[in-house]
Chain length 272, copies 2
């Protein structure tokens, strides 16, 4: 079993150093408590509700920022990995809403969010590469960021590429839901897990920022689509997952959810 | 608003005439109560747990069975449509797990389930055509059958092809779920509705059949993914839906869930 932790933090927009310190404190505590995969929120080092591209630029970091080397060095001797959202300053001068995957050997991947939400479109450039599946000591970790998960093609592609778990740094703006229901984004994450037989770890944020509140919908979801740990006010949400279970796709004696696909049918529909 | 009804019946395997009478009674009552789209369970005229292909054949009907003409004639003067699962005897001598779409003008479509569940593989031939979107007076109705819905490509394709609502005749074998959760299949249906901004009407069955129990998970789901009516023991579950809402895909001032797709990225992942 693998202990997966999500640290549902409350970053403050523009407070780069304080956010980094908070994120560092949270992930090191989670690793000390036995977590082998720690997921942090989207844009955790920068905050989210930027007033301008200039403000975002002021707290942006490069994909090879020395912060990542510092964090990786602290993982020396551990199998653990950290997935963290950050505001990326690209070599091309553009800003990306990115996530870094780190382990003891350093930066293993940087993924740039491909589907931008609302005002992000005024700040960030969407990524042009598909999301990665990173073969780590802990297992094969796929990465998506927030709204990416609402495109079912994305978790499907990661599962088909062999992901054991999909780590999803997210900032889910507060949405309405009927009493007794999970947030709509959590329903989507649960279904993505179940149809693909892949674990999903969504790390949301909290803390009202320039009037924007959040769902606080952090969830560690198993391959059957059930949330094993919900936040309920805790900063760090952790659960034990059998990541090896993602490597078979059997759901009945005669049904394998991937072998049963009929891709020859999926592209043949056109409008009426 | 359009009244959509699902009749969560308890067919008995092999009792073809009694099942037809029960289904007829249920859909005519639903139409009399104002429903303009009525969905009946998968294999409602035949029952589900067949002991053999021979038994299935004994209760099979053709796509042009006179029963459909009889039912369609009763819809004369009405905008209403009925979607019903049945055991189809194909011209090719094979059996299909099919659904018929009827309105006052007659049979509008027959869809053959493309993804077969478990022992169905020993009885039925999977369909070789994509699911239809039928342009009815009540709106554009897409059709899937049970396990089809667990392939996210299927509701996606129907939504891209312009479906306002997806009608899903189903027989969901009883599955375990944590306290307070919907059945896993309902979670999948809710997510399919939400990510595609399309209504979904799932009509499950009840009635233990040869030891097999069912989820009884009938749900009429709106374009935000919320179940507006759950079965709770009622035979017919009905809700008012704004089907026109499926024709825009806006979820924020700058986000349209279809226009935001990045299909150029979805096929580029390969295994690690």
């Amino acid at each position: 079993m693998t202990r997966v932790a999500c640290c549902q933090l409350a970053p403050v927009v523009g407070q780069g150093e304080a956010n980094v310190a908070m994120a560092h404190s949270a992930w090191t505590a989670a690793v000390a408590a036995g977590a082998e995969l720690v997921v942090l929120p989207e844009l955790v080092t920068s905050g989210y509700v930027f007033a301008s591209a200039g403000e975002a630029k002021s707290v942006a970091r490069r994909a090879d920022d020395e912060l990542w080397d510092t964090w990786a060095a602290e993982l020396a001797g551990s199998r653990a990995a950290v997935v963290a959202g950050f505001c990326e300053a690209g070599d091309d001068g553009r800003l990306y809403n990115s996530a870094v995957v780190l382990d003891a050997t350093g930066v293993r991947a940087v993924y740039r969010k491909a589907h931008l939400w609302d005002a992000e479109k005024a700040i960030f450039t969407p990524g042009s590469a598909p999301p990665p599946v990173v073969d780590l000591a802990v297992g094969r970790v796929g990465v998506l960021i927030c709204y990416d998960l609402e495109f079912p093609e994305m978790p499907r592609a990661l599962a088909l590429a062999g992901a054991d778990i999909i780590a999803v740094p997210t900032n889910w703006p507060r949405t309405e839901r009927p009493a007794g229901e999970h947030a709509g984004e959590v329903v989507i994450a649960m279904a993505a897990a179940r149809v693909n037989r892949v674990a999903v770890a969504c790390c949301d944020r909290v803390g009202v920022e320039r009037g924007q509140d959040w769902n606080g919908g952090t969830a560690v979801i198993d391959q059957s689509g059930w949330a094993l740990a919900a936040a309920d006010g805790a900063v760090t949400v952790a659960a034990e997952l059998d990541l090896a279970a993602s490597r078979h796709k059997w759901v009945s004696p005669r049904n394998d959810v991937m072998a049963d696909r009929r891709p020859e049918l999926y592209g043949r529909l056109t409008g009426p």
